[in-house]
């Protein structure tokens, strides 16, 4: 059975884009299992599409956002479950020294809390910029006017830094 050109492209896209997408979705949601489900489902949809979109990265993240939004709609009851579900996916590393563990735990929680304080759009803007998206790509993916991206991004960055400083 020979591989179609699409299948080759798909495999190449999966190899580079899947790790990026799942990392981004995990930063966005704070939920490893959810990030995994959505990243996989996104690639299933890409395969079902049968041809590569002109801009695969933008296409993937747009579909992932839609799936994420669908999940969030059903989220009220999930929220308590998620908090509990996530630790199951922590690998059994050797635990760090108690002091270091405490400090890093605290910082992680502060970053998570700061992200959670941002609006969904600010969080997406900030995190996608950190994935290397250009202003133009951000405009496409988040349906923004390109000329407004710089200003909105600056606000998102400020909101994030402020939320970190104001951590409880």
């Amino acid at each position: 059975m020979s591989e179609s050109p699409f299948e080759g492209d798909f495999r190449a896209a999966f190899a580079t884009r899947f790790p990026e997408l799942i990392r981004y979705l995990h930063r966005l949601s704070g939920d490893a299992a959810l990030a995994s489900d959505i990243a996989q489902e996104t690639f299933v949809r890409l395969y079902q599409r049968g041809e590569m979109p002109a801009d695969a990265r933008a296409w993937l993240v747009t579909v992932a956002h839609n799936l994420f939004r669908d999940e969030c709609r059903r989220a009220t009851r999930r929220r308590s479950l998620l908090a509990r579900r996530d630790p199951a996916y922590t690998l059994a590393d050797a635990p760090p020294a108690p002091d270091a563990a405490l400090e890093s735990d605290e910082r992680q929680r502060a970053v998570r809390a700061a992200l959670d304080q941002l609006s969904e759009r600010d969080r997406q803007l900030l995190l996608l910029r950190h994935e290397g998206y250009s202003y133009r790509e951000l405009a496409t993916v988040l349906s923004l006017v390109e000329s407004s991206v710089g200003t909105l991004l600056a606000r998102a960055r400020i909101a994030f830094r402020r939320a970190l400083e104001e951590k409880p």
Partner: protein
């Protein structure tokens, strides 16, 4: 020339084109220490943010491209996730990745094998998978995940003396079985998964979607958990996290529970 706007400097710091203004702005910045400093600050702030964001990164579950392709292929001619599983196709493996991603690791060999196998079976045969995967020596947090059908069967083929199974009803579309500690081999079947726990002391986490109409968990031929709609019958005890905890050596008679009254 006056200093360019903060937005223009930020765009330069971000490596963005400035269109018609670009050559003027660049000419200014080249000769203005203050603007150069601002840009350096902006880049440093971005780096600091990235460092902070990377604190929450973790080693994430990985997936095989073959499993994803199999799942997509399986959905052709069926209706969504449910349709796929109703057609007798259970797919999709995840493993908590890092160890599995190490080339040459026994876990990787195991996971890849299972992926490759599910791909074949998903594409062609609506029958239980019978070929056993290579059992890994160590499986820290490895497991399977597949879309839930209306019916799910989770079978532990060999009871361990000290191990236990924790079953949690969740509101997600995927069934997940993972183990931490111990050793286990997973084999996907028509309606679920068979786990050979090889007498180990592993703890198994089972995430069972609430949408599953009928679910059954068996250990060594004994039924230890059933879900029929919202009704749960189990030998396990409900712990404070909302999981039903069942020892792998459990023998007590099932206790009735109704999820609609005892909802997590």
């Amino acid at each position: 020339m006056m200093h360019p706007s903060t937005m223009d400097l930020q765009a330069l710091a971000d490596g963005e084109p400035l269109g018609a203004r670009e050559s003027d702005v660049l000419a200014h910045v080249r000769s203005c220490a203050e603007c150069q400093h601002s840009i350096a600050e902006m880049r440093a702030a971005h780096e600091r943010d990235e460092e902070l964001l990377s604190l929450i990164d973790r080693r994430l579950p990985t997936a095989s491209v073959n499993a994803v392709i199999a799942r997509a292929a399986a959905r052709r001619g069926t209706r969504g996730i449910r349709g796929a599983i109703a057609a007798g196709i259970g797919i999709l493996i995840v493993s908590a990745a890092a160890v599995a991603a190490v080339p040459g690791s026994p876990v990787r060999a195991y996971v890849e094998h299972l992926f490759a196998h599910t791909r074949d079976s998903a594409a062609t045969i609506p029958h239980p998978v019978t070929q056993a995967p290579i059992a890994p020596r160590e499986t820290p947090n490895v497991g399977v995940s597949f879309p839930a059908g209306s019916r799910v069967e989770i079978v532990f083929s060999r009871a361990g003396v000290q191990g236990r199974v924790r079953v949690t009803v969740v509101d997600t579309p995927m069934v997940r079985v993972t183990n931490h500690g111990g050793t286990a081999a997973y084999r996907l079947t028509l309606h679920g998964v068979t786990i050979d726990s090889v007498g180990s002391n592993a703890t198994f986490e089972v995430m069972l979607p609430s949408t599953v109409g009928r679910a059954i968990v068996r250990i060594d031929g004994r039924t230890v958990f059933t879900k029929n709609g919202t009704r749960i019958r189990t030998t396990g005890a409900l712990d404070s996290t909302g999981a039903y905890v069942i020892p792998l050596g459990a023998t007590r008679l099932p206790v009735d529970r109704d999820l609609s009254q005892n909802r997590i």
